[in-house]
């Protein structure tokens, strides 16, 4: 990573590793994850259970449990070292510099306060604005996320709103203090199809408008295609493939990415058998030596089981964590 990139990038993650102390010993949830994002860029993170996608985001926002977690590496947001922040700095950082939206909006909104109150409170705390101005900002945010009859919605409680409305309210809350980085953890997974596409379009528009660097975690390749500029595919706590969305989706290089895309169900596959990746996602308590994907990989050989491959740059910002020495895995530019 050149120093010019480092200067332009709003979010830089470098060699991030996270370990959890569990009942059965330590679990390495993340192993050397690194990427950088510029202003206004969207990184789509695709992965399944245990891939570490959610842990990455929570590490960036520093909301992992403090006592049982060991974080190493570097996270720099807007020039500040996030891992070195104390509680006071973190309180200013969360919501103001970096903000997160979740899968279940009902769980992240306080049920005993109105939406308007919650947004206004966040604005007051972070920007020191007066109650008047904070209220005005709350209304402005609700209109920005296109909630119908925003004025009366200010006085609604979470339980009075439907799923799509709540998701919009949560987005309004997260964006109310103009964060530089937006972390989205599967925000559309629990939504109905017609609502999901509305939220995706809304996020795309807001992200562009507010020029936020966005990390968008999803398990749905289609959703990632709709919103991401860059894609990172994660497996077993590591990034196994990285590149521009068009490159990764149209021309996957890593065997896992290939398998994932080949087994993604399109209706056009009706009548044929789905080409599945055999086996199951890895058990983080019991990680195999060498490449995390080797046990399920059709091209694995002895070395793959012994040594974990590092991310190899393929030019044009493409990276793949695979030895790629099988004849069928010819690198295509």
């Amino acid at each position: 990573m050149s120093s010019k990139e480092a200067v332009d990038s709003v979010l830089v993650v470098n060699d991030l590793s996270v370990e959890f102390a569990g009942a059965r010993g330590t679990v390495k949830a993340l192993d050397g994850v690194g990427f950088s994002l510029e202003k206004g860029q969207v990184l789509g993170v695709i992965g399944e259970s245990g891939s570490g996608k959610s842990v990455t985001m929570r590490a960036i926002l520093r909301i992992l449990p403090t006592k049982t977690t060991k974080i190493s590496g570097q996270i720099t947001v807007d020039g500040e070292d996030v891992l070195a922040m104390n509680e006071k700095q973190l309180a200013r950082y969360r919501g103001r510099v970096a903000s997160m939206i979740f899968q279940e909006p009902a769980l992240s909104l306080d049920p005993v306060f109105t939406i308007g109150h919650q947004i206004a409170e966040a604005v007051m705390r972070h920007t020191g604005a007066s109650r008047e101005n904070a209220r005005r900002r709350a209304l402005e945010m609700l209109e920005k996320v296109k909630i119908p009859s925003a004025e009366s919605r200010l006085r609604n409680y979470p339980h009075e709103m439907s799923g799509g409305m709540l998701q919009r309210a949560m987005i309004a809350l997260a964006l109310s203090c103009d964060p530089k980085v937006l972390l989205a953890d599967e925000p559309t997974t629990a939504l109905d199809a017609t609502v999901q596409i509305q939220i995706i379009l809304l996020l795309r528009q807001l992200q562009l408008e507010m020029q936020m660097a966005t990390v968008f975690v999803t398990h749905d390749v289609g959703v990632a295609a709709e919103i991401a500029d860059q894609i990172a595919v994660m497996y077993g706590g590591r990034i196994v493939e990285y590149g521009a969305v068009r490159d990764v989706l149209m021309n996957p290089q890593h065997p896992y990415t290939k398998g994932l895309l080949a087994s993604t169900i399109h209706g056009s596959m009706a009548g044929t058998r789905i080409n599945t990746i055999p086996g199951m996602p890895p058990d983080l308590n019991n990680m195999p030596d060498g490449c995390a994907f080797a046990p399920r990989c059709g091209h694995a050989h002895a070395d793959c089981h012994a040594v974990s491959p590092k991310l190899k740059p393929l030019g044009n910002g493409r990276q793949v964590a695979c030895v790629l020495d099988h004849p069928s895995l010819v690198v295509q530019p």
């Binding site: 065997p255 290939k258 398998g259 080949a262 087994s263 080409n275 599945t276 990746i277 055999p278 086996g279 199951m280 058990d283 019991n286 046990p295 399920r296 059709g298 069928s328």
Partner: protein, 294 residues
Amino acid sequence: MTFVPPASPDIAVTFQSTGYWTGVMQRLKRDPVSIACLIILTLITLSAVFAPLIAPNDPSVGKVMLRLKPIGTEGYLLGGDELGRDMLTRLLYGGRLSLIMGVVPVVLALLIGGTLGVTAGFTGGFVSVIIMRTTDVFFAFPSVLLAVAIAGALGSGLGNTLLALTVVLIPPLVRVSESATTQVRSLDFVEAARASGAGSFSIIRVHILGNIMGPVLVYAFSLLSVSIIMAAGLSFIGLGAKPPTPEWGLMLNSLRGAIYSQPLIAAMPGVMIFIVSLSFNLLSDGLRSAMDVK
């Protein structure tokens, strides 16, 4: 290019297969407080059961010369009571009655109240309304007063006291088992059981009971600590065991006069009640923690 997967089976899960209750027992064994309580309770129970064999004296024979003798008197290890009887012997024998009066009502209330609660929780509708509202009526009375009233009406004597205490303990157990049943009943696996064509009895026996036993047992244990105290309390005011039967509550009453001259001896039955009650309480906490882990 199609991705051709190699023929490999699912990776086997390498966990140990322990049953739920086995896991609970394991975790319980690792909790020092619970182990201590279990040991204490076991010792007290055993000493009560084997009282005739290990007691040094006769609990009903009092020697005038040894009235209110202090702890450490020769022959009377824990001193003499107000009628000159050996405190140690009376405490050992007293345990029998106190423990019976504490434990039996809870067991009976668990059986009766549990059945009522599960029926109410599972059936719902009119049956549930009848059972639960009747229970509410009993809840309107403070439990101690209710016990006193019933025992007073029936008269003293072991059977009546047990009856009074059982009646008082049934309502809370009905409530706990009804609420636990209602929660479990709406879970998917019960629906799946209904979908396989099972009748209510099979579903209750196989699916409901196993899943409500946890919270109900924890509650029953905590009721044991309350029951011991209430039983002793009833005897204290003369509605439980009759003199000269040794029983801790009764002994507390009869030793009231000695509280200034021999405070340690006067307090001893109270200490026993306290230890047993506290042990049951802490054990119920330990049980709850042991059951909390998934």
